[in-house]
Symmetry: C2
DNA sequence: ATACAACCTCCAGTTACTGTAGGAGCAAGC
DNA sequence: GCTTGCTCCTACAGTAACTGGAGGTTGTAT
């Protein structure tokens, strides 16, 4: 009669660019609800699941950790919630990204300085190794 | 006679700012040699170990992954090696850091754009949620 | 009937540690 | 000589977010 309105896990995977194992992992972690099953035990999905998974992937693409994604999903589920909580989560995440960039930039300049000092001799007088080794007297 | 020229693992930990468990972890991973033991089985360390651990920590502070640290240690152990291999490892690492910074920067600007669009209403018309949700018609 | 793909569950591995449980040794004080 | 308390020992679970694989079942196409 009606064409199948549901998807197998592989279909959902292809539709969202997600690995099959990852979908099961999300289900286990409560990000996706326990999927309905066929008589033989295979998971079946509907449009709402595709949307929810797409939301999760998009959030992950923006770097939100799974805990934050969980919160965002809860908020998104209730359209009457004020947007503040969403905004706060996003700003916390932005601050975290800024911190990481700052850390990496500091690291980069230090490493760059170290590399610049290499005069391409032997390890015996390699400035890079010297930087790594503790400062020994004598 | 001579004052004890060796250290207990806790002493080494304090000297190098490393957790005791981490020192054992490095030994297990072959970054530090199997430590000598006292009759009762406690690890004992000497100056060379302190230096080697300091080298490891310094490398880690510069963000080198343990595999790279292993290679650097091998190179540092032979003073006659040309410095090129060291230089190459460092440059590969620098490139990796640059890649991470680029990724995070792209992420940052995208996230920043999303946050900027928040008009502080309800979730129903929250632009952040909208960005995360898949584009649905109707 | 027989392939073969896709599905199932469960588990190990990734990175670099960190923390904890349960037990033993060691120095100091009484 | 005994207790207290710190340090040490091994071994294992947990962290973040998956990924891959083993070993077995199901569904479909020929």
């Amino acid at each position: 009669m009606a064409e199948a309105a549901h998807l197998a896990i592989g279909d959902l995977a292809r539709l969202t660019g997600t690995k099959v194992n990852t979908i099961r992992f999300y289900e286990e972690g409560g990000l996706l609800p326990q999927a309905e099953r066929t008589a033989s035990g295979r998971r079946i999905y509907r449009d709402a699941d595709t949307k929810r998974l797409a939301f999760i992937r998009q959030s992950r693409n923006l770097g939100f950790p799974l805990d934050a994604v969980r919160e965002l999903l809860t908020l998104a589920d209730d359209a009457n919630q004020p947007c503040e909580a969403v905004d706060r989560i996003a700003r916390v995440h932005l601050a975290e990204i800024d911190r990481k960039i700052a850390d990496l930039s500091a690291l980069r300049s230090e490493l760059s300085r170290v590399i610049g000092s290499c005069s391409h001799g032997t390890v015996a007088d390699c400035k890079i190794i010297e930087t790594l080794a503790p400062h020994t007297d004598g």
